[in-house]
């Protein structure tokens, strides 16, 4: 039984979790290989000479785009090195990139922190994974936008002071406002996968448009110097070449093609998820691509019959395509032709003794990872037409595999810890003790999430380790489990800037390895302030404005 839980956790870590990570990083590496990424970087640097607006564009908007697609430290490494390349003082550049990397983190790597949490919580809350992974991002999307709105102002005040922030208030307001609105709308009405990428693009475009009709009265270029483009190595062996704006400008056609690669990614994932949009869930297949890709999935009324294999109601264990759902071996017994869970949860964690099923779902086509891989191949068509050799696919694949070999193993083990602890009852033991903190629990919940990210460096890991604990404690204390699990994620992002792992990525990004301590000293206060604020917001949402919590 324990073996079943441990292996299930590892398998869940590989599919769907690592599958998304690998394809997302593959896509990102492909745009680096084809040169699209450098083109976008240069086009951003050319938009304005004002330091404050460069900071917003690079650290906030562009950083969020990279977080939404690649995640795992890439946004900090990239935006820190870009800022340093533009002439920002290196330690300041790293600190600003780290602080900017908060608002988008819960939806990083195509929403992986919240989708992982949804997968772990679904059997615990007695809802299917689909419903749970809709409710969680909706809740996070009712917490983080408040912070997204203020982070741009926060950054500029830190960099240039309050007075100089007021001078560029239109840019600050447009960057934060459009991102916050995008984040709320997409997470509540579309889903977690594209929340960051779409909001970041909207925000980037909005600031770019604003600059056409408005420019700061006085261009702030303090500390300008001719930057020598340093070549630095990120800790994952990824070579970061910091380009400056002095190279020959790219043609508008080239710039368009570069942005189009990201457009293809977003369109492909959007089309694949069309059935998840608010109001479109009853759309009939084949227009409803989502239902089509999930044919044969239990509960899919629009396409109940699988393409290959027996119907789930006839043979619950049989192999089916394109969605194979089965009970994990060693964790069930057959009774009356149906599999029944062996693990029973008991009072007071649940009202009365009830089964805790350990099921596994291989959604071959509908998984976000598959859609992103497909998008990468589609995006490669225009790249190939423009002369990128086909061998670039192989090189990129090799590079991605080398980069992610160890992180994937780590993810599998961490998910294994979570599953073993959930199914053995260890998580509930901790929750029972935590529930004794009483009415102040929402405040502590925020700190627990932040400590989880501080220690592991990842919101996904923090959600995996503490999300189930938060949800169980919430149920025991009469609070909403969705609210508390989401708080773990939303507050977790505030711990990212002080986690040793991300500090070293930031330091490497600006070529200041060994000066992590100085960066930490600059950011730690802000991590504490922002976590406190999130704790207060969780308290408010738990007791004063509970209508903000989405119904499961």
């Amino acid at each position: 039984m324990t073996i079943a839980a441990a292996t299930h956790g590892m398998a869940f870590g590989l599919w769907p979790i690592s599958w998304i990570v690998v394809s997302a990083v593959f896509f990102y590496n492909l745009t680096v290989e084809s040169g699209d990424f450098d083109v976008i970087r240069r086009s951003l640097a050319r938009l304005t000479g004002d330091r404050r607006i460069q900071l917003l564009l690079v650290a906030f908007c562009f950083g969020a785009l990279i977080e939404g697609i690649a995640g795992f430290g890439a946004p900090v490494a990239i935006s820190a090195s870009m800022l340093a390349g533009l002439g920002f003082e290196p330690i300041m550049a790293a600190a600003l990139a780290l602080i900017a990397n908060t608002a988008p983190v819960a939806f990083g790597s195509l929403g992986i922190p919240v989708t992982t949490l949804g997968g772990l919580l679904a059997p615990m809350l007695g809802h299917d994974a689909q419903t749970t992974t809709r409710a969680l991002p909706a809740m996070v999307g009712r917490q983080l936008p408040i912070f997204s709105l203020i982070i741009p102002a926060y950054l500029v005040v830190l960099y240039a002071g309050w007075k100089r922030m007021i001078e560029v208030w239109p840019a600050v307001l447009v960057a934060g406002g459009t991102f916050a609105i995008g984040q709320f709308t997409v997470s509540n009405f579309v889903g977690p996968e594209l929340t960051d990428a779409l909001s970041a693009l909207v925000s980037l475009t909005a600031v770019a448009w604003l600059l056409r009709v408005w420019q700061p009265a006085e261009e702030y270029t303090e500390g300008a110097r001719v930057a020598v483009p340093p070549t630095v190595m990120a800790p994952d062996g990824h070579r970061l070449v910091v380009a400056t704006a002095v190279t020959a400008p790219d043609t508008p056609k080239r710039v368009f093609r570069a942005y189009a690669s990201y457009g293809i990614l977003i369109l492909t994932v959007l089309i694949g998820q069309i059935g998840n949009f608010a109001g479109l869930s009853t759309l009939q297949p084949p227009a409803n691509v989502t239902a089509l890709l999930k044919c044969g999935q239990i509960g899919n009324r629009l396409c109940p019959e699988p393409w290959v294999g027996a119907n789930a109601s006839v043979d619950p264990q049989g192999f089916r395509f394109p969605v194979w759902e089965f009970n994990w071996p060693g964790a069930y017994q057959m009774s009356g032709g149906r599999p029944a869970a062996l693990v029973q949860r008991e009072a007071p964690v649940v009202a009365s003794s009830s089964p805790y099923p350990l099921t596994y779902r291989l959604d071959f086509l509908a998984a976000a990872g598959t859609l992103v891989l497909l998008a990468s191949l589609l995006a490669f068509i225009p790249m190939a037409a423009a002369g990128v050799p086909a061998s670039a696919l192989g090189t990129t694949l090799k590079k991605t595999a080398r980069q992610l070999r160890l992180p994937v193993v780590t993810i599998a083990f961490i998910l294994s810890i979570a599953t073993v602890m959930n199914y053995s009852g260890m998580t509930s033991s901790m929750a029972l003790a935590l529930a004794k903190t009483g009415v102040a629990f929402p405040f502590f919940a925020a700190w627990l999430g932040m400590i989880g990210v501080f220690l592991t460096g990842s919101d996904t890991s923090s959600n995996t380790l503490f999300g189930p604990l938060q949800a169980t404690t919430a149920k025991l204390s009469g609070l909403d489990p969705v609210l508390m699990a989401a708080t773990n994620s939303s507050a977790g992002v505030m711990g990212k800037m002080i986690s040793p792992q991300n500090l070293s990525v930031g330091a490497a990004g600006v070529g200041a390895v060994g000066r992590e301590g100085e960066i930490l000293a600059k950011v730690i206060v802000h991590s504490l302030i922002l976590t406190t604020a999130m704790g207060l917001l969780a308290l408010l949402q738990a007791y004063v404005v509970p209508w903000m919590v989405p119904a499961l």
């Binding site: 294994s416 810890i417 602890m421 509930s428 033991s429 003790a433 040793p500």
Partner: protein
């Protein structure tokens, strides 16, 4: 027929508090290995997963009750 496994929440000396303390060993170990001892992430995760496995197997799922 396999036996149903009924979860127990206070396996350590019948105390919720001591059980919670014991249950917190795997995440704490992961934290110490990663942040204090600077062990490679995959090794830290493996060590913590092994600890969780042993605790679950010998304490929470113990057939001695």
């Amino acid at each position: 027929m396999a036996e149903l496994f009924h979860q127990v929440y206070n396996p350590v000396a019948g105390s919720v508090f001591l059980s919670a303390l014991t249950a917190s060993i795997p995440p704490l170990l992961l934290a110490v290995l990663l942040a204090v001892l600077r062990v490679a992430p995959w090794r830290s995760a493996l060590a913590a997963a092994a600890t969780a496995f042993v605790l679950a197997w010998l304490v929470w799922a113990c057939r001695c009750r």
